[in-house]
Symmetry: C2
Subunit: 312 residues, 2 copies
């Protein structure tokens, strides 16, 4: 019974045999609003796990929606977000975070009384409040998964395997709905972790959003050197160092998605960026002064600090 939803799905990216599966009958139809890497991966994984019977999708880009069909992510393309959500047992909101409030307002009138609505956004405080204004059966979620790639072609059923999914219930979230959301994420391989939305935004600001600021700024600075052309640019392009590649990897991420995250988490970001700027300024001053002792102490402290917040 648990495998029923996966049969004949037409996906090319089946879940690995070791992934957990949904137990019991599938919940019903899954609506995925925004069929990029994350939304698409939820669809592939949920169907492969047998958690849902079929997938209906919508994207504001007709081309993205077409590609999601070709990739076997959606069984049916809806003409609007509202039509996608109509009658769905599970609705996944997977569009940039600043769009979520309006999206919730649009779909609210057609939601099933027993629907589970979740999002996958990288910021939670404002977004959860905005969606809750319109949708009672909503659980704010943030799977810590995804790469710098974007779009349905980057979606895979195994994307969430072993990854944390932050779940941010509020005082208004029905407890049984939180449990259902966590069961859903577990069935597609993620490890749910409950966290207050405000704490989420503060911690992710440091652990994810600030690294993106640093990576985009570094890419821009090196890009300015490259733009000067000549032998420097030619040599720069010839080298392809792993240090530049790895430290700017996440600067290949979606500009629209990160524009929204930075703006939505502005209150946390500004003091974090000030800390980053101060650290860059401190390093610059030590180098300019030729202060080897201070420089070494700074680098040693930074290395030790990294060892505490980055696993193994």
């Amino acid at each position: 019974m648990s495998a029923a939803g996966a049969g004949g799905s037409g996906t090319t990216d089946a879940a690995a045999p070791s992934l957990p599966r949904w137990t019991g009958p599938p919940l019903g139809s899954l609506a995925v609003i925004g069929v990029g890497q994350i939304g698409g991966s939820v669809a592939l994984a949920a169907r492969a796990a047998g958690a849902v019977t079929d997938v209906v999708g919508w994207s504001r880009s007709a081309e993205t929606l077409r590609r999601a069909g070709v990739a076997g992510i959606v069984d049916r393309a809806a003409p609007s977000a509202r039509e996608a959500a109509r009658g769905a047992a599970v609705v996944v909101l997977a569009t940039p975070v600043l769009t979520l409030g309006a999206l919730a307002e649009e779909i609210a009138p057609v939601l099933r009384d027993d629907a589970l609505v979740i999002d996958v956004g990288s910021t939670k405080r404002a977004a959860v409040a905005a969606v809750e204004n319109h949708v009672a059966r909503f659980v704010g979620c943030h799977p810590l998964a995804g790469t710098e790639r974007s779009g349905p072609d980057a979606a895979t059923a195994a994307l969430f395997a072993g990854r944390l999914c932050i779940v941010c219930p509020t005082g208004r979230t029905p407890p049984e709905l939180v449990a259902l959301a966590e069961r859903f994420w577990s069935a597609i391989g993620a490890r749910p972790l409950r966290m207050d939305a405000a704490l989420h935004d503060r911690v992710l600001g440091a652990a994810s959003h600030l690294p993106h600021v640093a990576a985009y700024a570094l890419a821009a600075a090196v890009g300015a050197i490259d733009a000067e052309g000549g032998e420097t640019s030619a040599a720069l392009r010839a080298l392809g160092t792993t240090s530049l590649r790895d430290s700017t990897r996440i600067a290949a991420s979606s500009p629209v998605m990160w524009r929204d995250i930075f703006l939505d988490n502005r209150a946390e970001m500004l003091p974090l960026i000030d800390r980053l700027a101060a650290a860059v300024g401190d390093l610059r001053a030590a180098i300019a002064a030729g202060d080897g002792a201070h420089l070494e102490a700074f680098l040693e402290a930074a290395r030790a600090a990294r060892g505490k917040v980055v696993p193994g």
Copy 2:
């Protein structure tokens, strides 16, 4: 004949079968001064390739030298850099860049007339000049290899496989010696690329040194959040995001090595750090102003710039 040098080497890390090999009789003894990850890897690779008959090593740390012996990197530990270099056919200077001038002065009196002396330092202009003052048969080299790990335990014979090695001859370098150095690097798997030392320092400043500034600064900034303790620190440590891990990976590198690189390449670093600081400031201003259009344009341009300087 070409395999003679590799026989009975006692190394635990033999070169992969696909690595190139030295053709012709081995050059003679290899002296490795500084038996960290890079120096140790040159030793393992050169012996595995049959380029040298045996390896004598020296480190200012007796413990490092002992571990290099245990790891099979050196056949014999010398009591000083000078004694290591005495009679060697190839001498590799693999200590922090600011030590190279004094090291060259120390070993110059005992060098063989036909010795090949190379270094592996990450900055070239000042170091090449400093060594050339004392050693005529010197070729400045910088293999673009190595990881954030340090020490002899991080050395492997395959470290240079397929990696570029920048070779920086000057007007004083004997042409046959440049050719010999390039043959040596090719035999241990690297791809030699000639470059003027000044251009090297400018380009590596952007491609490697500036990424290290960004990574250390980011690690320091996130470390400051972590140091505040409480639930934020606990959650930060629990998350272990890949974005933070990858963008600060190189901040796990050796503080002493990077202290020297930053100071030695100060003239190139300061304007580069100013560009990085300006980019961070630009992002901050756009976020503070809620200027989504400028923010998106900045992120899009940074992503495009990265695509030009980082291979596929």
